[in-house]
Amino acid sequence: MKLIKSIVRPNKVDDVKNALEKLQISGMTVTEVRGHGKQKGHTAIYRGQEYNVSLLPKMEIEVVVPDAAVNDAVKAITEAARTGEIGDGRIFVIPVGESYKIRTGEREV
């Protein structure tokens, strides 16, 4: 079982969600986040004055999938979130030891 954490452009959330649903992956957590990658933001100009936009708005999508589905899920996210431009985001795959359903206490391994 793996946690797939994706940082994507805000406008790509629906595309990623649709792509994952096609793989029968429906449970997910979506969070508004701000950050920067290698480009460390950029400089913007408003009324002649420059200011740094160091933390860019992004969306974080978290899904937990069986080990066997990881490759397909990563591929689906990559294809759905890609524009080819700097700032498309990142995907992290993290091992998950155990998982519990809070309502029932049921344990999944």
Binding site: R9, P10, N11, K12, D14, E32, V33, R34, A44, I45, Y46, R47, G48, Q49, E50, V53, P57, T83, E85, G87
Partner: protein, 844 residues
């Protein structure tokens, strides 16, 4: 009591003699009542009534009227308490300017009264003088509070009073009254216990009684029943003092009000005081006098202490908020209701519960049009809707009592309307009002919201944004396409409020497109320049961009407490900045080339004197932005005037606008042209607030300057506009040296310069394919535009396009420059920046 009968003469009597005899009989009647000690309210009312009849008769016989005239009784006569030797105080109001025929009428009317030997105090006024009523003398303001129509056009008094600023007049009347009371009491050493009191002027006398009643009438009619000595005690005191006063006039045979020792004895006898000696009779009389004087004094002090503050025509502020002085009169005048909410807004308080109850009871009787019957009322509504703290609370009060729904029936359609979705947490009406609360809170925004708060402060007409918010969701009474339905409903409101074309277009745009910015900001890739370009094309100009941005912010935040996150704010702001930059920096590359539908529409609907080809030719090469800045009518005028431009000739004209003046110049470009035009305006002290300069590839320029005539040159000089245009022609033709003329003004401006922020000059060679763009943000000052553009021309630059903006004390100008037809090199940019900073900092 019947009128006193005059014995008919056998021959036709002289009307003057008949009137004199009737007056004499009337006076004898009052004298007899006074002798019996019965010259109180009833007798004086009778005498006043008989005097009214005489005045009416004289009015009818004074000859033909050239215009509406009304005669009104003032002061004691107005109160129907005319004593035997009282002055007859009259106000004679004319509907328009007083001419020679009116003066003949006045003589014919007033002379017979003087002939009777009566003392007249008369005021002759024109209705329009009511505009200055608040500045009139205090005694006249007070006398007016008792004004009563006797004969003629009674409506004139309403018009006279309505022409003035109600709050100022009421406040000044009360201030005057307080001051007159203090002065009068000081003359009597501030004590009622005078052994020889003046029954009219002494503390506790008749004037104090009328003062207490006037205060109550102007502020709270029930005031004297709520404290002081009570109404019954005041009535008794009034009757007593009037009877005594009538005796004093009778005994002294003149206007005499002092109850001297000698007259005390006679008054005691006439009033039937018992006692074995005159001394005992007098002591009982004076004991009664002081009892009544104390009652009046106590009530006056209560009134002075407890009266609510006047807040406008028929409005006061009491402990629980703004309320009507006369709720019954207000109930039939719905056009006055908004003033109460405006007053509450101005004073940071609520509208009182009893007033809200009264409005709730009566609101349903009126149509939407009844609330805004005149241009002044419609303008007052727009003024009321300017966003500031308290607006949401006042609108909510209006909504709760049904007033908002009567003023805007479209809004009634969404009252308590529930739309079930995953996001909205409130009914549609409350969501709408919350958007306005969100907007008004921006006025005092904390650091995290200041950038949006500044946008709000920069709007020319923020009330249009509030109107758009009020209407943006009214279409939700239906279940589909609510933005389209909202726009349809908003158009009905446009007609009722008679909004101008600009206001209609702005509100309709905001209502129809109110979802577009949130879609673009939150669901599109705003880093894609094409998305920004499309969005910039949608909004067109900066003002609409700012409004749509603020509307979106307020709308999203009003969905629920959690909906607008800092993350979303950032996305919204980024889209705003990118679009703003596109509108101001990149528009020079987007020119009209014949393929634009807007241009085709302009050409297609050309008036008969313009052919399609000449319009297309004029438009070709101008930035597309030009089409969004000017109405079709303005564009047709430009085309017409441009046909007269040949060689060095110029077409220039001035137009008065709602908030200033506008100069338009069409001519062929030449060095220093832009700086010369702005310099000419500065030479007349004009403050240039906003404007645009466009240059076509063929060298034709179209420049517009919106400016404030700070020194009122155009207002005070009938030929001022011609002089400005003549100087402009002379300067552009090189016949007048502008620099010498402006030198003194510039030095003065630099000396007066307020300490402010450091100027910003930013050169940009990236945003446009054709131009170097120079953005300048600096402290606004007279001649600033002239000095900056002159520095550019002196640096060898051509000024091709200019956006001129002023926001408060900040001038925000964007210049599109070239040098010998190309962009500036980096060295040239550095040199220009240095020159500009020297100019802006006053170092050259």
């Amino acid at each position: 009591m019947p009128d006193p009968q005059i014995t008919p003469a056998e021959t036709p009597a002289d009307p003057r003699a008949v009137r004199a005899a009737r007056l004499e009989a009337t006076r004898a009647e009052l004298a007899a009542a006074s002798e019996r000690g019965e010259g109180g309210r009833l007798a004086l009312k009778q005498y006043s009534h008989r005097m009214d009849a005489i005045v009416q008769e004289l009015f009818a016989g004074a000859g033909p009227l050239a215009q509406p005239v009304g005669v009104f009784a003032l002061g004691g006569y107005g109160r129907r308490q005319l004593c035997l030797h009282s002055d007859i105080d009259l106000l004679i109001l004319f509907g328009g300017p007083i001419g020679s025929q009116d003066e003949r009428f006045l003589h014919a009317f007033l002379n017979p009264i003087w002939d009777f030997g009566l003392t007249i105090g008369h005021h002759v006024r024109e209705v329009q003088e009511g505009e200055r009523l608040a500045d009139d003398n205090p005694e006249f303001l007070l006398a007016l509070t008792d004004a009563r129509a006797i004969v003629g056009d009674a409506v004139l008094l309403d018009q006279f009073s309505a022409a003035t600023d109600g709050t100022r007049t009421a406040t000044r009347t009360l201030d005057a009254l307080r001051s007159l009371i203090a002065d009068r009491h000081a003359r009597f050493n501030d004590t009622i216990y005078q052994l020889e009191p003046d029954v009219k002027d002494s503390p506790g006398g008749l004037r104090d009684l009328f003062a207490a009643r006037t205060i109550a009438r102007l502020t709270a009619p029930g005031l004297l029943g709520q404290g002081g000595s009570g109404l019954r005690a005041l009535e008794d005191a009034e009757e007593f003092l009037l009877r005594v006063r009538s005796i004093l006039h009778l005994e002294s045979k003149r206007h005499h009000n002092v109850l001297s020792h000698e007259l005390q004895e006679r008054a005691a006898v006439r009033l039937g005081y018992s006692g074995s000696t005159p001394r005992q009779q007098v002591e009982r009389l004076m004991s009664d006098y002081f009892r009544h004087a104390r009652a009046i004094d106590r009530s006056l002090r209560w009134a002075l202490k407890s009266a609510p503050a006047p807040m406008g025509q028929n409005l006061v502020r009491s402990a629980d908020g703004i309320r009507f002085v006369d709720a019954r009169a207000a109930a039939d005048r719905p056009e006055t209701w908004l003033a109460a909410f405006q007053s509450a807004l101005d004073n940071g308080c609520a509208v009182s519960d009893d007033m809200l109850t009264s409005i709730q009871q009566h609101a349903g009787r009126f149509r939407a049009e009844d609330f805004f019957p005149t241009d002044a009322h419609r303008a007052a509504l727009l003024r009321f809707l300017k966003p500031r703290p308290g607006l949401y609370a006042r609108l909510s009060e209006m909504h709760e009592v049904g007033l908002l729904g009567q003023m805007f029936p479209e809004f009634r359609a969404i009252t308590c309307r529930v739309v079930r979705d995953f996001y909205h947490k409130y009914t549609v009406d409350e969501h709408t009002l919350l958007t306005i609360r969100n907007l008004e809170r921006l006025a005092n925004a904390g650091p995290d919201r200041q950038r949006f708060g500044r946008l709000l402060g920069e709007l020319d007409a923020p009330e249009l944004l509030v109107l758009a918010l009020l209407f943006h969701d009214v279409g939700k009474w239906r279940d589909d396409d609510h933005h389209v339905e909202s726009a349809v409903m908003a158009r009905r409101m446009f007609d009722r409020l008679r909004l101008d074309d600009h206001a209609r277009a702005t509100i309709e745009f905001l209502v129809v497109e109110h979802l577009k910015m949130s879609v673009a900001a939150f669901r599109r890739d705003t880093e894609d320049p094409e998305i920004v370009r499309q969005f910039a094309a949608l909004v067109g100009v900066e003002e609409r961009l700012k409004m749509l941005c603020l509307l979106t912010l307020a709308d999203v935040e009003a969905v629920s407490l959690e909906t607008l996150t800092p993350w979303k704010e950032e996305l919204l702001w980024r889209l705003y900045v990118d679009t703003y930059n596109h509108l101001t920096l990149s528009y020079g590359d987007e020119v009209i080339d014949g393929g634009q539908s807007a241009a085709s529409e302009i050409a297609k609907h050309a008036p008969a004197d313009l052919d399609r080809r000449s319009i297309e030719e004029f438009l070709r090469g101008l930035p597309r932005r030009y089409l969004q800045l000017f109405s079709p009518e303005a564009i047709y005028t430009h085309v017409r005037r441009s046909r007269n431009v040949a060689g060095d000739s110029i077409e220039a004209w001035l137009e008065k606008q709602a908030d200033g003046w506008e100069l338009t110049v069409i001519t062929h470009d030449k060095p220093f042209l832009f700086s010369n035009i702005s310099g000419v305006l500065s030479s007349y002290g004009m403050d240039i607030l906003r404007g645009f300069a466009f240059t076509k590839p063929d060298g034709l320029i179209v420049d517009t300057f919106h400016f404030a005539d700070v020194e009122r040159f155009l207002e005070l000089n009938p030929e001022g506009a011609e002089k400005v245009i003549k100087r402009l022609e002379d300067v552009i033709a090189g016949r007048t040296d502008l620099a010498a003329r402006l030198k003194g003004i510039e030095e003065g401006a630099l000396r007066r310069k307020l300490p402010g922020f450091a100027p910003v000059v930013h050169c940009d060679n990236e945003s446009s394919r054709r131009y170097t763009i120079v953005e300048i943000v600096a402290e606004n000052a007279l001649g600033l535009l002239y000095r900056m553009s002159r520095a550019m021309s002196e640096s060898g630059c051509e000024v091709d396009l200019v956006l001129i903006g002023t926001e408060g004390r900040r001038a925000i100008d964007v210049f599109h420059l070239t040098r010998q037809g190309r962009k500036l090199t980096e060295d040239e940019q550095r040199e220009l920046t240095g020159n500009l900073l020297r100019v802006l900092e006053g170092r050259s």
